[in-house]
């Protein structure tokens, strides 16, 4: 995970340069110049729905914004998603990895949020009245392997209360 200090990060151009000695470098319009250890990248082998070309992301944490975790695309520096841990959005949230998602992460089907090294994140989506956290399609990152997927939960994969209220209203 890359920590970022807003005081030292002026917005600038949008291009990513070559890495040196395993250190990546990109110029994000949102964080300015970002350097990170390439071993800490999150790889999305299938990209994300609607962003098939975004296969490399870095997780950026701003201490004063916790528990927000920003997913900044390396492949397309203008693309950045704001995410929250699913358990923060909905403390009772439970869901299980289906067979396909488990295979993509080289994990066992049925693993729950909070199990092992899996980090379950909900993307924050703006609405006309504020924002919602998308619990229907959480991002699951295996922190150990650095591989991530975005899963689409089918009925029965998450608990009933989540299905009745798949998107938690954040702001009204």
């Amino acid at each position: 995970m890359t920590h970022f200090d807003p005081a030292n990060g002026p917005a600038s151009s949008v291009s990513n340069g070559p890495a040196a000695d395993g250190i990546g470098l990109l110029h994000s319009p949102w964080f300015g110049e970002v350097r990170w250890d390439e071993t800490s990248e999150v790889s999305f082998p299938a990209g994300l729905p609607g962003f098939d070309d975004c296969r490399r992301m870095i997780a950026i944490e701003i201490p004063s914004h916790r528990p927000v975790l920003y997913l900044q695309s390396v492949d397309r520096p203008t693309v950045c998603f704001m995410t929250l841990p699913v358990q923060y959005v909905s403390p009772g949230f439970t869901a299980r990895l289906n067979e396909d998602d488990a295979a993509a992460l080289a994990r066992r089907p049925g693993e729950l949020p909070g199990a092992g090294s899996l980090l379950w994140l909900a993307m924050v989506v703006p609405t006309p009245t504020g924002a919602i956290a998308n619990l229907d399609a959480p991002i699951v990152v295996d922190v150990t392997s650095g591989v991530g997927i975005q899963t689409s939960l089918a009925v029965g994969q998450s608990d009933d209360s989540t299905r009745k209220s798949p998107c938690v209203e954040a702001v009204c």
């Binding site: 807003p6 949102w30 704001m82 689409s152």
Partner: protein, 88 residues
């Protein structure tokens, strides 16, 4: 919607180009095999909705910046406290 009954191993052909075969049926789930030309996009129905929400999500920070986005979450925290007070 056209509804067709098929058994495992049977399939349907669409427009002579796309073949869908029922590979396996088990425990309320069906495994499908699909043969189609390379230029045909195939995705799960729910993936299309996820793509729509992802495109919306990517517009949040350009619209309000990281600080503005973080401020949304502060309000969200307040909402959660209210929820608990409401006994939900």
């Amino acid at each position: 919607m056209l509804i067709v009954r098929r058994r495992a191993g049977e399939g349907i052909l669409i427009d002579g180009k796309v073949e869908i075969v029922v590979a396996e049926i088990a425990a309320g789930r069906v495994k499908l095999g699909i043969r189609a030309p390379e230029n045909v996009t195939i995705e799960r129905t729910e993936t299309d909705e996820a793509a729509r929400r992802n495109r919306l999500a990517s517009s949040l920070i350009p619209a309000v910046g990281t600080q503005g986005a973080a401020d949304l979450i502060k309000t969200f925290r307040g909402d959660r406290k209210d929820e608990k007070r409401g006994g939900k």
